[in-house]
Symmetry: none
Subunit: 210 residues, 4 copies
């Protein structure tokens, strides 16, 4: 049963996915240009020619990683993130934590690194990224902020800018998870980091009792 002496095994259905996962790992580690097709193939356990059975060229592999591996997860994740209730403060806390669980702790955390590093070489992908990841993410925070301000729970703040203030530390945590982003403690204990983040931020948003 074990393919010990087999030269290869046929995995038509699984292959594309396997190749994309291997490609993701390599792209995150080395960047697009520095990743050789052979690196991807080896990581996927196949040989040089196999990726070309499923993808036209290296660029298409990159696009497929984003479009077929990462963005579909974004949608799934977004649905779960959108599912919460409570007062604005609880919502914010929950939003950050769910986000982290479904985006930060999964392979999705690679997305910001890839786009920062390679986005300018793939403008179309960048557009998709903005449309399907950045904007929806901002919307989630916008909703919470608007809710909190409307209910008087939060102070009046510049919503457009505050959104980004809230997003930044989470994205940084995602970047830190990709390794080799030097923010020592952040990567070491993400939960402590996120708690500190929620603590400070929520403190800054809540309307003073007086």
């Amino acid at each position: 049963m074990t393919p010990l002496c087999k030269r290869w095994s046929r995995r038509k259905e699984a292959r594309p996915q396997e190749i994309l996962e291997a490609a993701l790992a390599q792209f995150v580690q080395k960047g697009f240009s520095a990743t050789r097709i052979e690196d991807i193939a080896r990581e996927a356990g196949v040989t040089r020619g196999t990726p070309y059975l499923y993808f036209a060229n290296k660029e298409e592999i990159f696009k497929a990683v984003i479009r077929e591996l990462l963005l579909p997860q974004v949608t799934l994740a977004a649905e779960r993130v959108a599912d919460f209730s409570g007062c604005a403060a609880e919502l914010l806390r929950e939003l950050v934590q769910i986000w982290w669980r479904v985006m930060g702790e999964t392979s999705l955390s690679a997305l910001p690194k890839l786009m920062i590093a390679e986005g300018s070489n793939f403008p179309e992908v960048m557009d998709i990224y903005e449309r399907e990841f950045v904007l929806p993410g901002q919307q989630l925070f916008r909703r919470v902020l608007e809710l909190g301000i409307a209910s008087g729970e939060f102070r009046q703040v510049d919503i457009d800018q505050t959104i980004n203030v809230l997003v930044a530390p989470i994205v940084m945590a995602m970047l830190a998870r990709c390794g080799n982003v030097p923010c020592g403690q952040m990567a070491a204990d993400p939960d402590a980091y996120l708690n500190a983040f929620i603590d400070v931020t929520l403190g800054g948003l809540l309307a003073r009792p007086d």
Copy 2:
């Protein structure tokens, strides 16, 4: 024979610097691997062979960009950032604003992007970056936090983690300045963004009067 056009006056001392600046621009735009020596040469107004008169190879150009172009500025910038006084809240505000002026609005803003994108391919550079940029930056915030907590101005917070919470939005703003990092409003009006950041963060740090 006489130097007809002034612009061709040989500035041999200036050449290496010019090449490094050209290289920085290209590396930020395209990444290390995707940047061809000829791209750098053209941007610097010289031809293919010239960079090799001053640098051993492409890798050394990258290292020189970090070591000779960016990190010395970090030191200069750090000195100016360190020069402030007042209460902790004022210090924090001032720290963020000076930082932005000396790092965010200059070519130094390229540093985080380069290290995120290429750091894993240049571990030694990464080390230097951490030692000479990340740690000193964290120290500045640590000092402010410690000061504020000691004086009772700030709440008791987890200093190690809060440092990173404070650094993250500034680094994100630096990334946004490198172009093609999709955080719309942030890049459009950095000052408004930084104000929102200080506003929320300071609110979150200040001890409640009650």
Copy 3:
């Protein structure tokens, strides 16, 4: 389980022939090197692996096309061409017309194109071609010329060279039939072309009455 669709009835004996015909069509269209095995397979209605059940490799397919598909037809054709009678002028006319019918208008017309294009890459095939196609063809014309000269019907001409003068326009017509040989009118109306050819040539061969 029962052969639902008749068209899938296995014609194992027919397969090699079908593959060779597909190969011929592709080789004529694209040339040997530019033809992929998959092109041949698709044209034959089979898949990549099937040609290898019948032929060792691509080169053997080429040789088989010549040896097994074309040259046997040459023999058949030559027999029919050899079967004629009458005075030398009639013989010549008949020879040209039968040749055209059995070689020009059939797949045999591909042979000269293949040999011109690929002959130098297949010296052994070239030898066979010369031995089994060129020489026999020349012999036919030699016979007619010798007959006509002997009977006084034709002028004394340099037989060896005149043979080639007679063969050339027929071969050109065969080339023209393979498409993409730019001799407009020739391919458009081969009969008119061959009549003009016989008309001029015969006029040039006949001994003047005076």
Copy 4:
């Protein structure tokens, strides 16, 4: 003076021409697809990379061979061919002989072989070939035929078809010169072949005295 120990010599002006000539030789010998860039490079005395300094890719080399090496010669040759006078018979004789000298005996003789073998893979080149080589060539013969018929020197013949009858043997001689086109005697003694051709053809065209 002799570059014995030089790794290479700089020949910016001469290189493209040298590469095209090398390419022509290789394409004629092996065909386009079967010719490797390295074959061309070696024949030109350079290394793999050098052709790419002057041509974008192999296809462009092929096109340049036709457009820049061969067709300009066609123009030169056509001018010399057009320069003749005398009665129609003399004109025809002269036309064939000059054509042979300026096209058959030069590298131009490669043109028909290249177009027969590769034309269908390069339709645009085929069009140029037809426009700049085939049609002008046909015009020359048309002129002679029209002249001869008008003057009563030649019989009434189907001009459109007869043109091709006249062209065919010359083109065959050009093909034979490219080697490996199996028409034994033709290539061995082209002059004898052409004389036989003129002899027969002219005999067939001249109006009978009676």
